[in-house]
């Protein structure tokens, strides 16, 4: 059997590429890249906005620590609080009855 001579073969392919395939593919790829670029830019803007917002929030917190607007008890003047006896004096007879019953049940 005669050995086949590969070098003498044509480099042609037995397949065909559809007409305009390369042009269509180029347009499709460029359009996809355009979309990816747009998405990437949107993400960059969002990240920049988020970073700016975070920095602004931290700055507000640092520059105005609670602003004295929160009702934090003034423990130095705790003596001004009502004494237990005063609380008992304001309680109704029914409330005192309930208190007495609970004290007996749980102990003082």
């Amino acid at each position: 059997m005669k050995e086949f001579d590969l070098e003498s073969m044509s480099r042609e392919m037995p397949f065909k590429m559809p007409e305009h395939f390369m042009d269509d593919m180029t347009e499709r790829v460029v359009s996809q890249i355009g979309k990816q670029k747009k998405r990437h830019n949107e993400r960059k803007i969002y990240a920049l906005f988020a970073a700016t917002a975070s920095v602004a929030a931290v700055a507000v917190l640092l520059l105005h620590p609670f602003g004295g607007r929160l009702d934090i008890p003034d423990y130095e003047n705790i003596s001004q609080c009502a004494s237990i006896d005063e609380v008992f004096q304001t309680m109704s007879a029914d409330d005192l009855g309930v208190y007495s019953m609970m004290s007996n049940y749980y102990g003082d």
Binding site: M1, K2, E3, F4, L6, M9, S10, R11, E12, M13, P14, F15, K16, M17, P18, F21, M22, M25, T26, R28, V29, V30, Q32, I33, G34, Q36, K37
Partner: protein
């Protein structure tokens, strides 16, 4: 831009445009004009079916855009492009093979596809040659195609495939022997 002009644009210029966000689309158009067809045929010879070649070529170009920052001009642009195209072709074949088979087990189904995909007026010897190539293990197929059809040197094939030059030469030698045997056996 006319295709003749595109073909004369140097790879260095294309690479520079590719790394410039404002000119990346232009770079992709130039790559498609200069290397689109060779890349398509390189992929097609690996995956055989046109639809698969289309998917692989599109993914190749998207990856060129995505990973353009990883391109180093130590290597020729064409080798980088062929490397991405080869990986995409292998990815298509791996998907076809699924979990149970390896890419090298696809030989018979790829061989059958050659006849289905061949043009009605195609030369029988050309079909036999493609059948023989389809039956080769993936590595031998890559090396044979790059050397025989794309006229790549072993050094360039090394940049694309990654194996040592001696291993590539051995792969090519085995591929040629198997192809010759197949055609000699099947030729009328």
């Amino acid at each position: 831009m006319k295709s003749e002009e595109s073909l004369s644009v140097s790879d260095d210029s294309i690479a520079r445009l590719l790394c410039d966000d404002n000119h990346v689309e232009e770079a992709v158009r130039l790559i498609m004009k200069k290397y689109g067809e060779p890349l398509y045929w390189h992929i097609r010879r690996m995956v055989v079916a046109h639809d698969d070649a289309e998917d692989a070529l599109q993914e190749t170009m998207i990856n060129v855009y995505k990973y353009r920052s990883t391109y180093s001009n130590e290597f020729p642009l064409s080798s980088w492009l062929y490397k991405i195209a080869t990986n995409e072709s292998l990815k298509i074949l791996k998907n076809k093979a699924g979990f149970t088979l390896s890419v090298d087990d696809l030989g018979d189904s790829l061989k059958d596809s050659v006849r289905e995909e061949a043009s009605p007026d195609a030369d029988e010897t050309l079909i036999l040659l493609q059948e023989a190539i389809a039956l080769l293990p993936a590595k031998q197929k890559m090396v044979f195609n790059l050397r025989y059809y794309d006229d790549k040197s072993y050094e360039e094939i090394h940049q694309i495939v990654g194996d040592s030059v001696n291993t590539l030469k051995t792969n090519y030698h085995y591929a040629v022997q198997k192809i010759k045997d197949y055609i000699t056996e099947h030729q009328l």
